[in-house]
Amino acid sequence: MSLLVDIFSVVMISAGAFFFLAGSIGMLRFPTVLCRLHALTKADNLGLGFIALGVMPLVEWPFGPLKLALIWALVMLSSASVSQLIAISLRKQGRKGP
């Protein structure tokens, strides 16, 4: 049982780290600003989500997983709002297309 939990944590945290790597490489290599914004939100949501899921078995029971779920929800909401705000500010500066 403990070995299964450990394997679950290792797999989830590795997936999260992979998505962070994908987001960073996307930030460096994508051609336009809005594409890079897309890569950033993937790293934010998926990377952090997998890491939060993987750390849940490792923290103490009543408040640890609850705080992890709340942190993930807060980061999802704020990164969604911020990406829309950045896109709106780019639009106001005159960019019409991607």
Partner: protein, 90 residues
């Protein structure tokens, strides 16, 4: 397990630092803000992994604070980006 967690935390920090190169090469201001946002989220991820590695629930409180600060920094950038440059910048 702890060894793997510490290696994962170091890997995330290096990955996010790689994304900071966009601050130099960025074509617009929004690029630079997005790199800082990635740094903030990477910091949150590192705090979560360290909470699992033994720091416990106080590290989760630090991650929560960092997420609020990252959100406010991004909103401040967007609020400021619409204004024309002021005279004191010259």
């Amino acid at each position: 397990m702890n060894g793997f967690l510490l290696v994962a935390a170091g890997f995330i920090v290096l990955t996010v630092a790689l994304g900071l190169v966009r601050i130099f090469r960025g074509s617009e201001d929004a690029d630079r803000m997005m790199a800082i946002q990635l740094l903030g989220t990477g910091g949150i991820a590192v705090m979560l992994v360290l909470a699992g590695a033994g720091a416990g629930t106080p590290a989760l409180d630090v991650a929560l604070t960092l997420s609020l600060l990252t959100a406010f920094a991004s909103v401040a950038f967007v609020k400021n980006s619409g204004k024309p440059p002021s005279d004191s910048d010259r």
